[in-house]
């Protein structure tokens, strides 16, 4: 490969033509937004890693308070999980509509995704409210502090995701599927799917393992 490049370069120089360089690797992206956003997500991942580690350490420190087995309502968690999983696939459909350049379809699927996300958040708030009324607030024990810290941070991310999603709906309505909006939609899709990945960790590590004796 390098030899042929040399030949071309030498040939060009002999013929008095300007030097031409052929990229042998994949071309450089025009903007670093997607890579930059991915690196943001990875740093966010580290925040969640530290929260998971905290929960891992404190998850069984009940301080004579209620345990996960007594508190966690698995059917509710299953419901929440399916809402988030469904919202991942509906976001996927929005991306497919975007690729097909169908503005209306993109907005409809995006709105459905937002509603599913809001449903998830509603159920989570209901659960938090229920726990606090039972006297199992974050102040009760190390276990509950770590639980509210981890699950609450994930919920806040979903909330900001929904705010971003609604903002994008307005942007789409105003400007349509311009390249900038396509890029924003793609970044939000990474964010949204990333939150679903974190939730896999939450329902497995916190809820399912929490109810095991």
């Amino acid at each position: 490969m390098s030899e042929t490049t040399h030949d071309t370069l030498a040939g060009n120089a002999e013929r008095g033509e300007p030097l031409q360089f052929h990229e042998t690797t994949e071309h450089h992206p025009e903007t670093g937004t997607l890579l930059g956003f991915w690196i943001y997500l990875m740093s966010d991942c580290l925040i969640f890693a530290s929260l998971f580690a905290t929960y891992g350490v404190l998850g069984r420190s009940y301080a004579d308070g209620p345990t996960g087995m007594e508190l966690f309502d698995l059917p509710l968690v299953a419901m929440n999980t399916s809402l988030l999983l469904l919202s991942s696939i509906t976001y996927g459909f929005a991306m497919l509509k975007m690729q097909a350049n169908q503005l209306r379809g993109t907005m409809v699927w995006l709105a459905i995704t937002g509603l599913l996300g809001a449903g998830f958040l509603g159920l989570e708030l209901y659960e938090f409210n229920h726990l606090i009324h039972e006297g199992a607030g974050p102040w009760r024990s190390g276990f509950l502090s770590a639980f509210f810290g981890l699950v609450g941070t994930h919920g806040l991310h979903v909330l900001f995701g929904i705010v971003w999603l609604v903002t994008l709906l307005f942007q789409l309505k105003k400007h349509g599927l311009i390249p900038e909006n396509q890029r924003r939609l793609f970044c939000l899709s990474m964010f949204w799917h990333f939150l679903d990945v974190v939730w896999i960790g939450v329902f497995t590590f916190v809820y399912l393992m929490g109810v095991l004796p």
Binding site: P29, A78, T81
Partner: protein, 118 residues
């Protein structure tokens, strides 16, 4: 390969209906089984159940990475994957390190155990 990317304003990976549906169906299966294992109390041994559901979670995370986040070794010239691998290493150190250190700290510093062994 780069030709298919260029049509969609920049360097976004191309998604397909088939890819999303494959990811979704796999995720549903990989979510339903752990819930069933725990709620139905299928495996009597707690430690075994925990290991199995952690395994399902790991597989599901990989499925999401591939089908929803479109991870591969050539997007962004491999830098996406490099950042992911680096993060995975740090996450592993943070999780395993915390659990390991704090477990031994607990075991060695518990007043109850001091009496038992000392």
């Amino acid at each position: 390969m780069s030709g298919s990317n260029d049509h969609h304003g920049g360097d976004m990976p191309h998604s397909t209906f088939k890819g999303y549906m494959t990811g979704f169906v796999l995720s549903v299966i990989l979510t339903a089984i752990p819930f069933w294992l725990v709620m139905g109390d299928v495996i009597k041994d707690t430690g075994m159940t925990a290991l199995v559901i952690l395994g399902f979670a790991a597989v599901q995370i990989v499925v999401h990475m591939i089908y929803f986040l479109h991870m591969n070794f050539h997007s962004e010239g491999g830098w996406n994957m490099l950042a992911l691998i680096f993060t995975a290493v740090i996450v592993f150190i943070a999780l395993a390190g915390s659990l390991w250190v704090m477990y031994h700290l607990n075991v060695n510093m518990m007043p109850g155990l001091m009496k038992e062994y000392g």
